[in-house]
Structure formats: C-alpha cells, structure tokens
Amino acid sequence: MINTNPSVKLDHVSKRFGEFYAVSDLSLEARPGRIYGLLGPNGAGKTTTLRMIVNITAPDSGSIELFGRQITSQMQDRIGYLPEERGLYKKMKIGEQLGFFAELKNVASKGMDERIDKWLARLKLSEWKNQKAMALSKGMQQKIQFITAILHEPDLLILDEPFSGLDPVNVELMKEIVLDLKSAGRTIIFSTHQMEVAEKICDDICLINRSRKVFEGSLREIKQSFGRNSVALRIEGGDGILKDPALVSFIKQHSDEVEVLLAPGASAQDLLERLVASGVSVSKFEMIEPRLNDIFIEKVSEAE
C-alpha cells in the first residue's frame, strides 16, 4: 500500500535574505516510506529549506507541493517538525506541554491523554509527566521535543539534527521509532551535517552546499556510481608493492592499518595476488565502500 508519488516536491525554489541567497534553485523529491537525508555543512541552507517545507517561510520563487498539492497552512497539521533550534516552556508541566502542542496540531481532545502516556512510556519518560520541563536533563528535553513532533502522527516528519547531543542508548531508541514510522509509510526528511549518521539511516540523500544542490539520489546508487575502490589493509612488509603507481594511487596511513585507493584499472584481486605472491603476511584485507564524506568532499571540489 505504499504510495510512491512524492509527498514533498520542491521545484526550482529560491530564498534570499537581503543580498544573501540561502537557497538557490533547489529541486528535490521525497517519497513515502523512505528516509530522505538533506545533507550539507553548516550554513548550506538546510534549515531554510526545511522552514519552507514546514510553511514557516515562503520561497521567493519556485513552488513547493506537499502530498501532491500546492502547500497551504492547513497542511501544517500533517507535518511533524523537530527543528535544530528547539525548546520547551521551562515552567510548564510535561504532560500539559505535550497536550498544548498536540492541540496546535488539531489533535482531538478525546484520547489525547492516552496518546501522551503511550509516547512518554515508549521514550521511558512516564514518571516525568507532572514535572516542569526545567527539572529535566537536556537529553530528556530532547526526547520530549521529539514526542511533540510525532504525537499527532504526521504523514511527513522533518527532523533537523535530531540526535545531536544524545547518548547512544537514546539515539537507538529514537532511531527505532523513526524506522517504525518509515515502515508505516510516513515520509521522513532527515537533516544533518554528520555524514556518518546519514549514511546509516537514509535511503535517499540530497547534498547541498552554499545554497545549491550538489547531487541527489538513492544512497546505494550514489555509492555504486562513485566507482572508487579502497582497501583497508593490515600487512607486514610489502611496502614496495603499495608504492607501485600502476596498482595504488593513494595511501592513507592509520594507526594500525593502511587504507589504499586502487589506481584506475587495477582491481583488489590484483593487489591481493601481488601481496600473497611476494610472501607478505596479510592479517586484514577488506574492501571499503566510498564514504559519504569523501564523496561529498570530492563532489564539492568538482563543482568549484
């Protein structure tokens, strides 16, 4: 039953503040049942893009469609947004606070309390329901903010740096919920500047830099098309072989292993055969995928 029409569609969208272009000519499509990563360094224009999708700011030019129709403010009720800059009312009780945010999303009053209890339990915060927000640690507050974004069961969930500052246990807890929502057919837009995080969770990605899109596509395709072969090695001897420019084009020394980038035309098989033939003892030989970070750096330098 997964609908494959894009639920978010940006068409040549631009936004500028004075003379400064925050977003230029950006087009993208995010589909239900997938996690869409909006990636880029700080200041690339991620937050401005998200604010336009949530209908907080309007683009100067271009169009935004949500769920197949031109964006309207009524659609805000179907969106959950966890901004990067986020907060809670310090002196308001957690339960009331969640109720207030749910009311702002037009959640029916009937059954609202059960819904709040359910999510507090899932995020292991039930005993904090009647506490004021200022009594909670920063990590706990972040989980409460996460609940405000999902309490109304949005069709589109937008998470801006959702895991920053969380401990690994809570990151897993939140990730699990996000993956549940994904399999329930929701559209999730996930924005971060940490490529390692995006690599583990996203299905599709869009890299933006200095207000412009660098590239967009499914993560798997991007990695495949980025035909670059690296091998991680832990060996004794064989330095001469690694220096052969016909075989290796680049060597990166780590503490107890080396990472080599194979020369164009050379295969990992060739390298392994040469090493074994010359009697080098090999304790590790592993093909490594191109890292998103490396892809990003290369794409950005290409574009410039």
């Binding site: 805000q76 009720d77 009312y89 945010f101």
Partner: protein, 444 residues
C-alpha cells in the same frame, strides 16, 4: 480558531495558576491599605523621651504663656473648653500649610533659667555646656524686646528637627500676640471668636445631584489613573518576558510550524489581557465588599460611582493595555535577551509616565483644550480620558472619538508588530536594527 483558543487558554491558565499571581492579587489590596496606615502610624511614634528645653525669659511675662501649650498634650488642650483655658489662643491652629498635629505631637520638659543679674553671654556659655553634656536638648532665649518685634533665639543640638522648631515658633507666636492683645486691653475670647477659621466645603454637581466632595473624589481619580498606569506597566513587562522566553528557548520555531505567527501573537495578547482583567476584577470586588461592609463601620466615605464609569474604566484599560502590550511584543521579538528588552522598552515606559503626569493638569481643568487634545492621543488617552470622565464627564462624542482613534491605533500597531514578530522571532544571535525592522514591515 481552535489553535487560537489553545494559545489563549495556555497563557491564561499557566499564569493565573502561578503563586506569584495569587500572591499579588490577594496581597496588593492589603499592601495598599498598609501604605495608607503605616506612615500615619510611624509619624505618631514618639522616639525617645521628652525634649528638655531651658528658657531664658528676659520679658518676664512670656514664659507663663508658653508653658501651658507646650506641656499639655496638644489634642487634649484643643478639646478643653475655651473658657477654662483662656490663655491658649488657638486661632492660628488651622492655618494652611501647617503640618498636621499628629506629626508635631512631641512632649516637652521646660526649665526656667532665672537671670539673677547674670549677662546673657554668661548664661549662654553655661547652657551650651549643659547642651553638650546632653543634660539639655536646647534652650530658648526670649529677648526683652520680644513684644516689640525682636526675634527669639533657639540653640539646640538637633536644629534639623523642623517639627519641634515649628511647634516652638507657633507657640511663641501665639504667646506674643496674646501679650500684645492683653497690653491693648482686648479680651482674648473676643479675638478667638473673631478669628474663627473657615472650612471651605466643596460640592460636586453632577447628573446625580449635589455631592459633598472633600478630597475623596480626587483620590478616586488619582487611584483610577494610577491603577491603569501600574497595571499596563506590569502586564507590558509580562508580555515582554513571555515573548522573549519563546524566542530565547526557540519554542517559536516549533509553534510557527503549527500556527500562524499572527494567531500566536494575538492569542498571547488576549490571553494575558484576561489575566489582567481577572486581577482587576478581584480588586474591584474587594473594593466593593470593603465599601459595603467595612467603610460604614470605619466611617470612611467612598464616593458613589456611576456604573458606566466601570465600563469606561474597563474599555480604557483595554485600550492602554493593547497599545502598550503590542509595542512590548514587537520589542520582545526584536531582542535576544531580557536585559536588551528592558533597555529598548525604556522609551515606551517614558511615554506611559508622561501620560500619567498629564493626569495632573487634566484634573485641574478637565474641560480645557489641553485636556481635550491629550485625551485624543492614543498613548495618553487611557489615563487622561479616564481622568476626565471621573472628574467632569466630557460629551459622549469625545469619549467615542478617543476610543475610536485608540482602537484604530491598536489595529495598526498589531499589523506592524505581527510583521516584525514573524521574522524577528526566528532570528537568533543578534538584536534586529531599526532599518531591518522597517524592511520586515514593508515586505509582504
């Protein structure tokens, strides 16, 4: 609409429930009545023992005339029948500008220093020593030609005690006049009758007939202006704090992803106005109960107020509240911290203070053209027009015009503030400059 009511409800419920609100609402009437009672009580306290004064009387006749009024309790002296106490001439007692009696209610101990052929200089050095030794608080020299106009002299440790000085002066005055009358063979009783002071009784003529007004009217006007001034100031600060809180904690961004900035801002303004009205309502109720039960018992007269005045009070309060609260909301969305907000809000407070002080000339001449014009300026109207209504109700068209201009201004201010608010609330890190704010207002 549901979102709007959610905001109004949150602002109202969260604030009315706070201990601070309950505390201020209940305690303010108590504190105000304390302010009325405590100063009177403190002034009535007598610190230390009686004031010891030595008197050198070169005239030989004045000392007898000052002992009685100085040694007797003043109030007691006044109540004594005139005939029994012919020496005391109270004609001067109610002269305007005098400090009320209870402030000068000081006890004295007098000691007559006989001359015994010594010179004044000798006596003075002797008495100076006694003053330094704190055996005396001071001494009074009544020169021989006192009756002819020579000045008496007082030497004391604490000449800064103006109450004692003034008291001595008035007593000597009376004694000297009495002595002069006695010399001229005029009966003191006749003088007393002839110099009976008048008490100007003021009556207010209104639609409700004539009413005695001996100051309560002024107090009512002043109190109404003051309550409006103070409440607007207080709730303006609350708005400022509320807006800055949402900006500082970045809640604004989550809120804007759910409702329009305009809805949020107006919901906030209205929610907090209901808090203010609740508080004023409680105070009004306390006043009404006080007027009905306690006032007759304590024989405090509370002037009767036409019910329409309460309606005007509420209308002009709301006018002032929305004018100033909207500006406060605008300022709050421009700044990053409460301190910055306080600085930027200074001109607003100044405007409010000017409005408050304008109430004084308006009370004096409520139908002057100054009164008319200042009550048409929306920033001053809440206080000045209300003062006019209570003192000398202007024609209805003037009240209506003032309200019309005022609420028109409120609409304009809300329109401007909403535009600044929308952008300002999402701008972190630095205070918005005036040109920037102007640009936000102009762009759609």
């Amino acid at each position: 609409m549901r979102k709007f009511f959610a905001v109004v409800k949150r602002e109202y419920v969260q604030r009315v429930r706070t201990k601070m609100f309950i505390f201020v609402t209940i305690l303010a009437p108590l504190v105000i009545s304390l302010f009325a009672i405590v100063p009177a009580f403190i002034f009535s306290l007598r610190a230390g023992g009686p004031i010891k004064i030595a008197v050198v009387d070169e005239t030989g006749s004045i000392y007898q005339r000052i002992t009685d009024p100085l040694l007797k309790d003043r109030n007691q002296a006044e109540e004594e029948p005139a005939g029994d106490n012919a020496n005391v001439l109270n004609a001067n007692n109610r002269s305007p500008g005098r400090v009320p009696d209870k402030f000068t209610d000081t006890r004295f101990e007098l000691e007559l220093i006989p001359l015994n052929g010594r010179s004044i200089e000798q006596l003075r050095s002797e008495l100076n020593q006694r003053v330094r030794a704190e055996d005396l608080d001071g001494y009074l020299i009544l020169p021989a030609k006192l009756i002819q106009g020579q000045s008496p002299e007082f030497f004391g440790r604490n000449t800064g005690d103006v109450f004692t000085k003034e008291h001595l002066e008035s007593v000597i005055n009376r004694a000297v006049r009495e002595e002069r009358l006695a010399t001229a063979n005029i009966d003191v009783k006749v003088v007393r009758e002839l110099s009976q002071p008048v008490d100007l009784r003021a009556f207010k003529v209104s639609e409700r007939g004539e009413e005695r007004d001996s100051g309560e009217g002024f107090i009512m006007v002043f109190a109404a202006g003051f309550v409006i001034y103070l409440t607007i100031l207080m709730y303006g600060q609350i708005i400022l704090g509320a807006v800055i809180e949402e900006k500082e904690t970045r809640i604004a961004e989550i809120l804007f992803s759910s409702l329009k900035p305009f809805t949020l801002m107006v919901g906030k303004l209205i929610g907090i106005s209901l808090v203010a009205l609740t508080q004023l309502g409680v105070w009004g109720l306390v006043l009404a109960v006080f007027a009905a039960i306690a006032a007759p018992e304590l024989s405090i007269r509370i002037p009767s107020i036409a019910p329409i005045v309460f309606v005007y009070f509420a209308l002009f309060f709301l006018l002032g509240y929305f004018i100033y609260a909207t500006i406060y909301a605008l300022v709050g969305s421009m700044v990053t911290t409460a301190q910055e907000g306080g600085q930027l809000a200074m001109p607003i407070i100044l405007l409010l203070v000017i409005g408050f002080y304008l109430a004084f000339p308006v009370i004096q001449s409520p139908d002057s053209s100054l009164a008319f014009w200042v009550s048409m300026v929306p920033f001053f109207a809440p206080i000045t027009m209300l003062v006019r209504i209570v003192t000398l109700t202007p024609p209805f068209w003037q009240i209506a015009l003032s309200l019309f201009i005022g609420f028109g201004t409120v609409m304009l201010l809300i329109w401007i503030a909403a535009r600044v608010y929308r952008t300002g609330m999402l701008m972190y890190g630095k205070r918005a400059s005036i040109p920037e704010v102007w640009r936000w207002v102009r762009q759609s």
